[in-house]
């Protein structure tokens, strides 16, 4: 017999009530765990995908859209920019390096990106098989694309016009796969990479070009205009010095045809927008946890009355006041621990299940089998709430007037 077993015996005696408290706390904790896991991995992903990209230059439009389309590959591009303008930027002394991007086609929902080999090194991409593209119509697949399409080196495939829903196929100009990339945990995994020239050439020979279909697509946002030869969709820029951050965006934005957007700034803005929703759910979860604390308090407080004899008897059996205080506190702590364990388990499993669905839709990669820093603070908070809700009942137990209780008729 010890205090822990004594507290457990009391919890067992009111098992249903205890289960309710544990469940309530567990649901609150689980909700917050899901939020923590999602936001943390989402932020990590945003950070990973924009690493090494200081500035993106593209056509005028929404800066957020420019970043989403050319860094994260989730939105449609804002338009195209003349190659000449891009070439001019390369000579700017404030710029250390540039990577060209030509977008517009897709393969089974995965975007085909016309770029150069620097884009692969930006994400430390390595080929597991074959090599990177050299000639036109040679393509390299990201790991998720390869896994999804079950294609291997030497296979041919045909890209479709448009990047959201598959449009007409460029049947005349199939790509040949020359290499597969290793998983990098970045946006690279979901892309088909080829040369900028391939994108230009396909456009030059595309079926829609002959009958002028290109012009018809102008009004359809899901089928942006292909980059014409001598055009790029966007240019990724690395600064040469911190000074560039202050001068370059203004320089570029003052030009009529170009727009410069910073991934760091735009993703912060995006997180801010998402953050409002996250905070709302978080507040809701916190209310759940506080309710659980209140429920533990009420349960222990009510139990005190029926337990006053037990407490007095325990004192008469030699228990000090401190031990009575401890049994009640331990009880609160056991309930809180139960809720925390349930919440953590539920939160992680739920995140894995939700993450599985999202992975299937190829949008976001979220797994439940990871631990994020915020969880420790959450665990401590939940335990503190459990302890706090047991505090008043425990103090009342501490102050039990044993003779008074035992003399009661």
């Amino acid at each position: 017999m010890n205090l822990l077993r004594l507290s457990l015996a009391y919890i067992r005696a009111r098992a249903l009530n205890a289960a309710l408290n544990v469940l309530l706390l567990g649901l609150g904790v689980a909700t917050i765990v899901v939020l923590l896991l999602f936001t943390h991995q989402f932020e990590q992903r945003l950070e990973r995908d924009s690493k090494g990209i200081d500035l993106v230059v593209g056509a005028k439009g929404s800066p957020l859209q420019l970043i989403l389309s050319s860094v994260y590959h989730v939105d449609i591009p804002t338009g195209n920019i003349p190659l000449a303008d891009a070439e001019k930027l390369k000579t700017n002394p404030l710029i250390k390096a540039t990577v060209p991007l030509a977008l517009g086609d897709s393969y089974e929902g995965f975007r085909i990106v016309g770029t150069n080999h620097d884009y692969v090194s930006l994400y430390d991409g390595k080929t597991t098989e074959g090599r990177l593209w050299e000639k036109s119509y040679e393509a390299v697949l990201g790991s998720e694309v390869a896994a999804h399409a079950r294609l291997k080196v030497g296979d041919k495939f045909v890209g479709s016009h448009g990047i959201v829903e598959a449009g007409e196929k460029h049947a005349n100009s199939p790509y040949t796969i020359v290499g597969l990339l290793a998983p990098s945990g970045s946006v690279l995994d979901r892309l088909v990479l080829t040369s900028v020239e391939s994108v230009w050439e396909i456009h030059g020979q595309g079926p829609h070009e002959k009958d002028g279909a290109e012009e018809d697509n102008r009004g359809d946002p899901s089928k942006p205009r292909h980059p014409q030869p001598q055009e790029l969709t966007a240019l990724l820029i690395q600064y040469a010095s911190p000074m560039a951050a202050a001068m370059l965006p203004r320089q570029i934005n003052s030009q009529s045809a170009l727009q410069a957007a910073s991934p760091a700034f735009e993703s912060a803005r995006l997180l801010n927008l998402v953050g409002v929703g996250v905070q709302t759910v978080q507040a809701f979860a916190l209310i759940l946890i506080l309710c659980a604390g209140l429920s533990v308090f009420i349960a222990l407080y009510n139990a005190l009355r029926e337990r006053s004899y037990d407490l007095a008897v325990m004192r008469s059996l030699g228990a000090s006041r401190g031990k009575l205080l401890a049994t009640i506190l331990i009880e609160g702590l056991i309930l809180a621990s139960g809720g925390v364990v349930l919440g953590l388990a539920l939160g992680h499993v739920l995140t894995e299940v939700l993450g599985g669905w999202l992975r299937a839709s190829q949008r976001v990669y979220v797994t439940g089998w990871t631990v994020v820093p915020g969880e420790l603070a959450l665990v401590l908070t939940a335990l503190a709430i459990g302890l706090l809700s047991a505090l008043l009942p425990a103090v009342l137990a501490y102050r039990t007037d044993i003779a008074g209780v035992l003399a009661r008729r």
């Binding site: 009391y10 325990m314 059996l317 030699g318 228990a319 006041r321 003399a407």
Partner: protein, 212 residues
């Protein structure tokens, strides 16, 4: 074994107990008699160190209870005094055995599972060790409460109205159990009662009058 001197106790300024001098030798069984409201339970609580009298001194086994700090008084009570409450107050969340082990744990004694089983068997409760108190008959509950009171081999056993509301045969049985257990650990037994049926069994008696 214990000595009380000049005990006065008052609740809210009203005196409920007055006892000038009472000394008892180790192993003597005593009866505290008196009508309801004469302060029998109060006197038992004072003897148990649960209640500190308004005036007077209590010495048990040579130890002046006034001199003990609160937590040591709790420990002293757990070690040396066993109490059988009128309403027994077995802890219902624990088994009978759990109640005994709790008494050993709270007294700071080593928990002797074997000894607890032997004690329960000697009281005819061998098969009730793992029962909850609410599954016991009143007689069984009372013997379980006695077992809990004597499990630490106390020097002093206090029992509050152990035979009231019992029929003659059961009352005799309950008394026999108490006397036998007190004898087996050579403890001083003090019973507070208004039950006249058991008076002739006791050589030593003290009668409290109604204090006005």
């Amino acid at each position: 074994m214990f000595a009380l001197r000049q005990i006065r106790h008052a609740y809210d300024g009203q005196e409920v107990l007055r006892l000038d001098d009472w000394s008892v030798a180790q192993g003597e069984p005593w009866l505290i008699l008196g009508p309801s409201g004469s302060g029998k339970t109060t006197l038992l609580h004072i003897l148990a160190g649960i209640l500190t009298p308004s005036e007077g001194s209590v010495a048990i086994a040579g130890q002046d209870l006034d001199q003990l700090p609160a937590s040591e008084l709790d420990r002293f009570r757990g070690r040396h005094i066993g109490i059988v409450f009128q309403r027994l107050h077995l802890i219902s969340s624990l088994t009978v055995l759990g109640n005994l082990l709790l008494a050993q744990y709270l007294a700071g004694a080593t928990q002797d599972l074997q000894g607890a089983h032997v004690l329960l068997a000697s009281l005819g409760l061998a098969d009730k060790a793992y029962s909850r108190p609410h599954a016991l008959s009143f007689g069984q509950s009372q013997r379980a409460a006695v077992a809990r009171a004597v499990v630490n081999k106390p020097l002093l056993i206090l029992a509050d109205e152990p035979t009231s509301n019992l029929d003659d045969a059961t009352a005799v049985a309950a008394l026999d159990v108490l006397l036998a257990q007190a004898r087996s650990c050579n403890a001083t037994l003090v019973i507070a009662t208004h039950d006249r049926r058991i008076r002739e069994r006791f050589e030593h008696q003290i009668t409290l009058g109604a204090v006005s």
